[in-house]
Symmetry: C2
């Protein structure tokens, strides 16, 4: 992925950016995949966005799926690096980080292969964060972390409707500040009173026992309960 500039019809002048054409294609793929999904983003569109012929996409990445895999790999590699920089050096307002997030969120909705491993990685990091900053004697720390990450990413995926409902773009400075404040609100005070929580816990324990009993005798199934409002 180092700098290289060779042959081709257009004479070797700088073309819009100083990136390799290969890198330009990858970046365009990253952006269009996260905006429109794997199906929605066509090779031709990606090529156009990179100011390149569709054939070149195939030349460099073999196939659309190949480009997809390359994007996955890139996010997996650079993503963690960028995220660490953001977390530990406070460089939070990187548009690159946002792009990675959006790409990941899309991938996870669509169930891409690399998305799953990235999700696992995020869950593990979150679990560590939770153990350090929000300890709890929960019997299922991994479940707690996984659900939190899924919900976090959800807010990103729902960006469009969320923006509409709030009246301001979630990605704009004002909108993201508003979301950040709301998130702070949600994270700093419990939604359920100790009373309600205890009642819900009891109900779930009962359900769990019923489930265990059913497992032994192939009884009727039962689904979850107890979420506020949604």
């Amino acid at each position: 992925m180092a700098r290289d500039r060779r042959g081709g019809s257009p004479p070797p002048t700088a073309v819009s950016t100083d990136l390799t054409r290969r890198a330009r294609i990858r970046d365009a793929g990253l952006r269009l995949f996260s905006e429109r999904g794997t199906e929605g983003a066509t090779v031709r569109d990606i090529a156009r966005a990179a100011s390149v012929s569709p054939g070149l996409v195939r030349h460099h990445f073999g196939s659309k799926e190949g480009l997809r895999a390359a994007c996955d790999a890139f996010v997996l590699e650079r993503g963690t690096e960028i995220k660490e920089r953001a977390l530990f050096q406070g460089e939070l307002d990187q548009p690159e980080l946002l792009l990675m997030h959006r790409y990941l969120a899309r991938s996870m909705v669509e169930g891409s292969g690399a998305a799953a491993s990235m999700f696992d990685r995020l869950v593990q990091a979150t679990q560590l964060w939770l153990e350090r900053h929000a300890p709890s004697e929960t019997p299922d720390p991994r479940g707690r972390a996984a659900l939190l990450i899924a919900m976090e990413l959800g807010a990103l995926v729902m960006r469009e409707v969320l923006s509409r409902a709030l009246g301001s773009d979630t990605l704009s400075p004002e909108g993201s500040l508003r979301v950040a404040r709301a998130k702070l609100e949600l994270y700093s005070q419990p939604l359920l009173s100790a009373d309600a929580a205890a009642r819900a816990r009891a109900a779930m324990d009962a359900l769990g026992e019923r489930l265990d009993a059913a497992a032994a005798g192939e009884g009727r199934p039962a689904t979850g309960a107890g979420d506020p409002g949604g």
Copy 2:
């Protein structure tokens, strides 16, 4: 949408279910749209799932978009009814409710028109729920509710990766119980200490002031901060 049964190639015998063919198409659309998205679900597949010719889809709904609109309308209408029944009569384990949820979540990811209005409706209901059960002197109750709903739906959309990470299907009795417990955990105890919350709040206030100042003089933008682990 009443019962009707007229002409057609197959003699008037009962076909697989007792639903109108029109209703069968709508149901298949509901299912396939929520499983594969608007692009992923083809008219031919939907027709096959409904044991019907592709032409009949067009006949009844005009176009694929028409079918989509009909599904939206159905969810908008029946959805609230079902949800109310679920909430107020405790009938939580309806597979129909789950289908509606999944359809909605997909719609919102894809930004369908009706999804937006449904989202608004959900936000309003959640806001009421929050005011009653988790009062707070937040300056932005609507923002809090909207974010909560977006995150709730996110967990649904991320079902695939979430299931993979947890090791058990989120929709199975065991899996959904586990998710419900994790959710209870998250909702019943704050993730941020009063200390950390105060610090974050101060940082956001500072950011907000900087933003207001910039608004007057067209200064440089700045993006949000302060989310745990994600």
